[in-house]
């Protein structure tokens, strides 16, 4: 029997952050993890996929750009998949080890095992070393989500894989069929393609990333992926698979007709579902919705006042950084501070080639919110010196602002380092910045960041590095009615 002030269940980017902040605030804190510290993000999600994407991006550059730049490689580049995978693993281990150190340095008790609510005040934790009871005044559920499995495609994580299995491939598969053209499927498909795999993406919708990102951004990625040789089957439904002597046959239905796709590996990335069915959450009386998300209020408090839920388990968007933000907030709420989830935007990034990143609202979302008069414009990376010198000119920065106030409502980037550029947009939106605020901030040259400034100028009607109508046009004034 162990007794704590705060017990966090799950050590992903929500859980470990909540635990550290709880400890910083002086609570006797424990964190329970059944697998590796850091959760999906650090071990089988964000971090390992980025390692693979970075490596294959360099490979791609070497194969395609080096020659133009006069860098000639004698012979081909030999990909040693075993070393690549172990390097990727070392990245994960380093991160997970870092979490371990941070938790220990903050005197957080780390409990390895599987937790289940016994009552709303105590947990049973089962591990290889036995069963223990853990009690606490407050619980923070941060047990995350897992890949959705679809009928007929039971994961074996060798041939029929979720992202977890695909990230662990230690040989380069010859052929892969990816079911689901969302961001996870696209990220993995893109890097596999760069390794030489023949990839076919089966997507139920008519386009990639539909409803997730700005449609124009998705188009840029789709065009480049097609050029890279990824096959797309849109409006296609995966009906089943069959093992053959030289791999698998995936049966997909397109326009009512069945089509057979031959492959070696099948990657199923149709989304993630919250782990609301685990840890006896329902048995303890904690309310979940019909999709399995724990119901929480704006403080991430469940129907039971001393139990909180953060991250994927408590609702969309299922993103690590949202979970971390909630983790800090909940720990502070427990300590008596008046906090609430009132972020204006959760920036989202997709590590495709090129990357997509967005903050704030899409045009459709703005309209739905009642912003009828919008200013929308784009600035292309092709007009940015740094992008040209990097030989990565696909894409643009698109800005959406309220015409009445010039307040920035949404920024959508597709292009090189979009993931690193979007933070400025997120800050601008949180601060309630106007286009002028971004345009009048001096951005250093020569950087990709200049595209933000130029996009703001373009939206105001007078960017320097693209041809726009002379001043005196539609947006000649920078003053706004209060």
């Amino acid at each position: 029997m162990q007794n704590f002030d705060v017990v966090v269940i799950g050590s992903g980017p929500g859980g470990y952050v909540a635990a550290i902040r709880s400890a910083q605030l002086g609570f006797k804190t424990a964190i329970i993890e059944k697998e590796a510290l850091g959760g999906v993000c650090l071990n089988v999600g964000c971090i390992p996929s980025k390692a693979m994407i970075t490596a294959t991006h360099l490979l791609h550059k070497a194969q395609h750009d080096f020659k133009t730049m006069g860098l000639n490689i004698k012979g081909g580049i030999d990909v040693d998949m075993k070393t690549l995978v172990s390097w990727k693993q070392s990245v994960c281990d380093k991160m997970s080890g870092g979490v371990n150190q941070l938790l220990k340095g903050n005197s957080v008790t780390i409990i390895k095992g599987t937790a289940e609510f016994k009552t709303t005040k105590e947990l049973t934790v089962k591990s290889s070393s036995g069963t223990d009871t853990v009690m606490a005044k407050y619980f923070i559920i941060a047990t995350g989500s897992r890949p959705i499995e679809i009928p007929g495609f039971t994961f074996d994580e060798k041939d029929i894989c979720s992202s977890t299995g695909a990230l662990a491939f230690d040989t380069i598969p010859k052929r892969v069929v990816t079911i689901g053209g969302g961001y996870i499927g696209l990220e993995i498909s893109s890097y596999l393609r760069k390794l030489g795999t023949e990839v076919t993406v089966v997507e139920a919708n008519a386009s990639l990333l539909s409803g997730v990102v700005d449609p124009e951004c998705a188009q840029v990625v789709a065009r480049k992926a097609e050029k890279a040789g990824i096959q797309f089957k849109f409006g296609a439904k995966a009906k089943g698979q069959k093992k053959t002597k030289d791999g698998y046959e995936v049966i997909v239905e397109i326009n009512g007709k069945d089509e057979v796709l031959k492959t070696d590996k099948i990657l199923v990335t149709v989304g993630r579902r919250p782990n609301g069915d685990q840890a006896n959450i329902k048995g303890a009386g904690i309310q979940t919705d019909e999709r399995g998300f724990i119901k929480v209020d704006a403080q991430r408090r469940t129907n039971i006042s001393h139990i909180f839920a953060i991250g994927d388990i408590c609702g969309q968007p299922m993103l690590a950084h949202k979970a971390s933000h909630e983790g800090v907030m909940v720990a502070e709420i427990i300590s008596g501070m008046n906090r609430v989830y009132d972020a204006k935007t959760v920036p989202a990034v997709v590590f495709t080639d090129p990357e997509i990143a967005s903050a704030g609202m899409t045009e459709a979302e703005c309209k739905a919110k009642g912003y009828n008069d919008l200013m929308i414009s784009k600035f292309p990376f092709a007009a940015n010196g740094r992008a040209v010198s990097m030989s990565e000119t696909d894409g643009f920065v698109k800005m959406i602002a309220d015409k009445k106030t010039h307040v920035l409502l949404g920024v959508h980037i597709v292009g090189p380092e979009a993931s690193n550029l979007i933070s400025e947009a997120a800050l601008a939106i949180e601060m309630g910045a106007r286009l002028e605020d971004v345009a009048l901030t001096i951005h250093p040259h020569p950087t990709l960041g200049e595209t933000m400034m130029e996009a703001a100028e373009a939206t105001l009607g007078h960017a320097i590095h693209i041809i726009q109508k002379p001043l005196g046009g539609a947006h000649k004034t920078t003053t706004v009615n209060k």
Partner: protein, 536 residues
């Protein structure tokens, strides 16, 4: 051990003064039993415990100021339902039915859908004495959207059904109570898929859960979450939250309407001056923040003086009066009117009123006459929105009446008085006055008045010059009824007269208008027949 926190006391109320404890350590309390009385600047509020148990510790002393959400009581859970209930929670092997049989569980009407606050009981699907399983439907409730089956979240034996068919039930009301749990033989069936320790979990957990649900719903968020359209930096949003300022109600002074740090600070400093009143239909005048001088009083004879903190209702009154006098250029018009007929009419309906279980005073009749008159003079039922330089004419008639209470002046409000009969208004006045004296008015019942009547004449004094209840623009004063001799048709005659004052905001209402207003009002008071012509 469970912490009982000070629940939300009303919109905009962040703290209250502990008047007294109604329990002491060692007492066993039932769920919803009042444990303390807290005085806020609006009213005295009874604070209930959301859970049953034994009081272990009281964390504040009377007179202390307590912030909302502070822990006020430490409580040993469930002890009131005997210690065995606790035992079962911790000992998985204990036979649940035997030990738990004395415990009762309240089943509440759950949320029925967004925006639905109540529903009509169509029928019970269980009877008293029935054993029910968790999730079994116990009632059918019809809302304006659909008929909903209401399940019980926990198993037990139905002990009491709290409503009858056809009753309108508010969400969160207790609809039935369950006693203990059903026999151990039926319980596992209710959770056929659960593991061995589950029966304990399910009996113990829901009890806790329901208790805590109450706790969390009563401790809902204040200030409300900032709307996504509010323009304010994250740091400013946090500042507003920490200072208890509802940022949604601020009109930002920054470019493009941005709410600045200064806006938040001054909103807090100037109390409600800058905030929008989100109360029932009330419109804020949006007066600029007032910074009044704060002269000290330097005691020269401190030994013979007593210093008391200016807090609670007194402080609120002080602030309101100061602001009203500072903002509104007041003027008062006084006159007397013959109320002989009015007195006779009131006498004639006394018996009727008593048969209907109430007492008719002059106030409801005066209220009707006032409404009839302000319908002719809409500027009396208006507010000035200083921030936007606009006059707000109100098409609803919520009449406030000043009530003297041991704690000071409060103004309960008869909402939509134009739609109520004199009898209904009478009953409401009696009820509100009684609760005002007892300090038990809800904040809602003191909000949203569009014009106010003050009746200090019932105590004494010929005339007064009342202060307008800002953001209203007028206040009607009514005074003592007296016998007065007059010369009528050359003869000496005795009539009854009553003095009235109308105090108005000269920014909106001119003297001649007020005189005409009083004339029209008097026509109705003098001859209640005229008033009746206008009654709907």
């Amino acid at each position: 051990m469970t912490d009982i926190r000070l629940p939300e006391l009303g919109e905009g109320v962040t703290e209250g003064e502990l008047v007294k404890w109604l329990v002491k350590p060692g007492d066993t309390v039932k769920a919803d039993q009042t444990v303390a009385e807290i005085m806020t600047d609006k009213a005295t509020v009874e604070v209930p415990t959301p859970v049953a148990g034994t009081i272990k510790e009281l964390l504040f002393k009377p007179g202390q100021i307590i912030k909302v959400e502070s822990v006020i009581v430490k409580l040993e859970l469930g002890a009131a339902t005997t210690a065995t209930a606790m035992t079962t929670a911790h000992k998985p092997a204990a036979p649940v039915a035997a030990t738990n049989s004395t415990a009762t569980v309240d089943v509440k009407l759950p949320e029925l859908g967004e925006g639905v606050t109540e529903g009509e009981l169509v029928k019970w699907t269980v009877n008293i004495g029935d054993a029910v399983k968790a999730d079994q439907t116990v009632a059918e409730i019809m809302t304006d959207k659909a008929t909903v089956e209401v399940p019980t979240p926990t198993a037990g034996i139905v002990k009491e059904l709290k409503f009858k068919k056809g009753d309108i039930i508010k969400v969160e009301s207790v609809i039935l109570t369950l006693s203990g749990s059903v026999s151990t033989s039926t319980q596992p069936q209710a959770h056929a898929n659960s593991h061995a320790t589950k029966p304990t979990t399910t009996t113990a957990a829901p009890t806790l859960m329901m208790a805590h649900t109450t706790a969390s719903s009563s401790a809902s968020l204040f200030p409300p979450v900032a709307d996504s359209k509010v323009l304010a930096t994250p740091a400013t949003r946090r500042l507003a939250r920490e200072m208890g300022v509802d940022i949604n109600g601020l009109s930002g002074s920054g470019l493009a309407g941005r709410v600045t740090r200064e806006d938040v600070l001054s909103a807090k400093g100037g109390s409600a001056a800058l905030t929008k009143d989100t109360g029932s239909g009330a419109v804020s005048a949006g007066t600029p923040t007032m910074n009044f001088p704060k002269p000290a009083y330097n005691s020269t004879n401190a030994a013979l003086e007593e210093r008391v903190d200016l807090v609670g209702i007194r402080k609120k009154i002080a602030q309101n009066m100061q602001m009203s006098k500072a903002v509104i250029p007041h003027f008062t018009l006084m006159d007397e009117v013959d109320v002989t007929q009015l007195v006779a009419i009131r006498e004639s309906v006394k018996d009727f009123a008593e048969k209907n279980g109430t007492k008719i005073t002059y106030l409801p009749i005066v209220m009707k006459a006032l409404i009839a008159t302000i319908k002719e003079f809409p500027m009396f039922n208006a507010s000035i929105d200083d921030a936007n330089s606009q006059i707000v004419y109100k098409k609803y008639f919520n009449i406030g009446f000043a009530a003297d209470t041991p704690n000071g002046l409060v103004v309960p409000v008869i909402k939509n008085a134009d739609q109520k009969t004199i009898l209904e208004i009478s009953k409401e006045i009696l009820d509100l006055s009684k609760r005002a004296r007892d300090g038990k008015l809800k904040p809602d019942e003191m909000k949203g008045s569009t014009i106010t009547i003050t009746n200090i004449g019932s105590v004494g004094g010929m005339y007064a010059t009342p202060i307008i209840n800002h953001p209203e623009v007028a206040i009607l004063g009514m005074y003592k009824i007296q016998d007065k001799p007059i010369i009528k048709d050359g003869q000496l005659a005795a009539i009854k007269v009553m003095n009235y004052t109308i105090t108005a905001d000269h920014r909106l209402i001119d003297g001649a208008v007020a005189a005409n207003f009083l004339k029209s009002f008097f026509a109705k008071i003098q001859n209640p027949g005229v008033l009746m012509m206008g009654l709907t």
